[in-house]
Symmetry: C2
């Protein structure tokens, strides 16, 4: 096996934490001696031990504490992200790696946090450990796309979702939008819900559609273990929503609700209010969500809300379900942002995934200009 | 091998005629005796021998004329389309099958021409030949989708093509539309051009874009043999086009040009004019094109022309290239047909194919309501 293979294995291990570590990154670690894996681990859950520590534990379990220590001494450590060098929920991993006298640390990427970026590597080098940075860099960045975004932009990773006709319409003139996409597409969208920490809709949509904003899939459908609870994102409303019969479903569950608005909203029990003085509070609202550990959100509409984000180029991912119908003249445009000056100058998104659900298609784009 | 396998083989043989038989259907034929193929053939080119005749020839070539006749007597014939029963360019195949004393004729579909539909089968039955209809019916209909359309609707098979942004815009407000789709998408669209008998654009597009309307791919790129000429469709203009410096490229080649218009157009040498009294002459124009053996057309725009076809529900296929950009407010809608009364009642197209070219996607839809 080669360097690349060990790093690829670390990435696979990291993915096992996908549903449990946000807002932390997914991290996997492989300890290698004489070209053989002697220990492996991953960050299992937010607040729990880091991947490096779990890999050492795994080695001890395999070989016993004493032999493990001898084996780890002089070994190579493969980890997709720079080892942590600060004490937060757990002691810094750099200390542990130094203590165990690791020979070489191979990282996929540096920590994206500007105040940390390279700090762990510096500490390791100072202690005489060899380091190598950037192995499978793209794959490691892609793996932790959410984490990298939150660290660099200090806001949640933002996914916009829309269901439209092939002519780019989100609703008829009278507002009717149920159901443009088919039931398989709608079911798929619950998978996206299950992967984010919050679902955001505008006040108007909340009042008109009375959405539950819950993940309505079973543990089995989500690929979870039988007894694992289905993750339910925080419900986030943009605008001064009042509780009423129109919004019954939204307030029905036990999930946390956050309302961000300019106007002070009428307070409801168990709802957190974030009130802003400026009319244009969207950037600030996003920062405040991240401070509440909401590291990823899915913006589900309606049209005005989607375009508030598009207009500010405030999104990292765009998911469109396109139904095979033409809604024609006078129907509502999904997107109504300002036209570019020329086609050449129009920023382009990056196509990431193309799927079909019956006659609907689903396109997933990244926004490289966010 | 089973009935299904022999018919599937006949379909594969039929496909070999794809580029050469329009407006005729593609037909393949397999002659089977004691579960073994003793002859096979296909319709190779418009005006040439039919598949059944070529299959008999193939049998004779294999076994010699005398032995072939003995073998064919009592054999089964698999053919994707009902054998012809009228003398047109060639003698009717039904006669030949009767002469050779075929035992059983297995057809995928009847001839869609209402005045023939079942006539050949009737003749065969009367002569004591067993018949079976409908084996791999869907596949056989799909194979000859163009032929079935021309026979049933008495107009060419109509493909609409557009390149749009993800928000369904075909151009900026000022008309700029070069280049929304990328070069790979544009290259792919030349493959579609190569498969139709005519390319249609509106007068305005012809004048504004000065398109050549030619297939700009090599024989090799088209999968043709080295010495095969690249097929060049007839150029068709909707509206009273004048020859000018603005339309230089259009008139540059040696391809036939047909102009259909209400106003009498200023006559140009080598151009055929179809003039109509009614303002709404599109249906009539299409019929006249088919009478000129133009069995399939690709409508490339512009926006008004596309919508003339969409508005009349006059299309069999819609091909959309969608580029990963948002052209936003004020840009021109690709489609501007009348909105449906409700989403439920909105007719839906059928997704046939989903492809990507770099970050562009290509969606191919059939129109089941045409």
């Amino acid at each position: 096996m080669k360097d690349l293979d060990f790093m690829a294995h670390a990435i696979e291990l990291a993915k096992k934490g996908r549903r449990h570590v946000q807002p932390n990154p997914m991290v996997g670690c492989v300890i290698v001696k004489k070209n053989k894996i002697i220990g492996e681990g991953w960050h299992k859950a937010y607040g729990g031990a880091h991947a490096e520590i779990n890999a050492i534990k795994n080695c001890k379990k395999k070989f016993g504490s004493k032999k493990a220590s001898l084996l780890i001494k002089g070994a190579d450590v493969y980890v997709n992200l720079e080892p942590c060098s600060i004490e937060k929920n757990t002691p810094p991993c750099t200390n542990t790696l130094i203590e165990y006298q690791i020979k070489r640390v191979i990282c996929g990427t540096l920590d994206p946090n500007p105040s940390i970026n390279g700090r762990g590597i510096k500490i390791l080098k100072k202690a005489g450990i060899q380091t190598k940075i950037g192995l499978l860099k793209n794959e490691c960045e892609e793996l932790n796309r959410i984490f990298f975004t939150t660290q660099k932009k200090l806001r949640p990773y933002i996914i916009l979702k829309g269901a439209q006709s092939i002519d780019g319409k989100i609703a008829l003139k009278n507002g009717e939008s149920n159901w443009i996409s088919n039931s398989d597409s709608r079911k798929d969208s619950h998978h996206i819900r299950s992967r984010v920490k919050g679902i955001l809709v505008g006040r108007e949509t909340a009042e008109q559609d009375n959405p539950a904003l819950t993940v309505r899939l079973s543990s089995k459908e989500l690929g979870l273990r039988k007894n694992d609870a289905v993750p339910q994102p925080v419900k986030i409303i943009l605008g001064s929503l009042k509780k009423s019969t129109k919004t019954k479903k939204l307030f029905a569950g036990s999930e946390k609700i956050i309302i961000g608005s300019k106007l002070p909203a009428k307070k409801i029990k168990n709802v957190e209010y974030l009130e802003y003085e400026k009319k244009d509070f969207l950037d600030r609202f996003m920062q405040d969500l991240l401070q509440r550990n909401i590291s990823s959100i899915l913006v589900e509409g309606g049209q005005q809300t989607l375009n508030a984000f598009i207009g500010k180029n405030l999104f990292d991912e765009l998911v469109l379900y396109t139904a095979p119908m033409i809604l024609g003249k006078g129907s509502k445009d999904t997107m109504s942002s300002k036209a570019p000056m020329s086609i050449k100058k129009s920023p382009r998104l990056k196509l990431i995934k193309l799927e079909s659900f019956g006659d609907d298609i689903k396109t997933t784009y990244y926004n490289p200009n966010a």
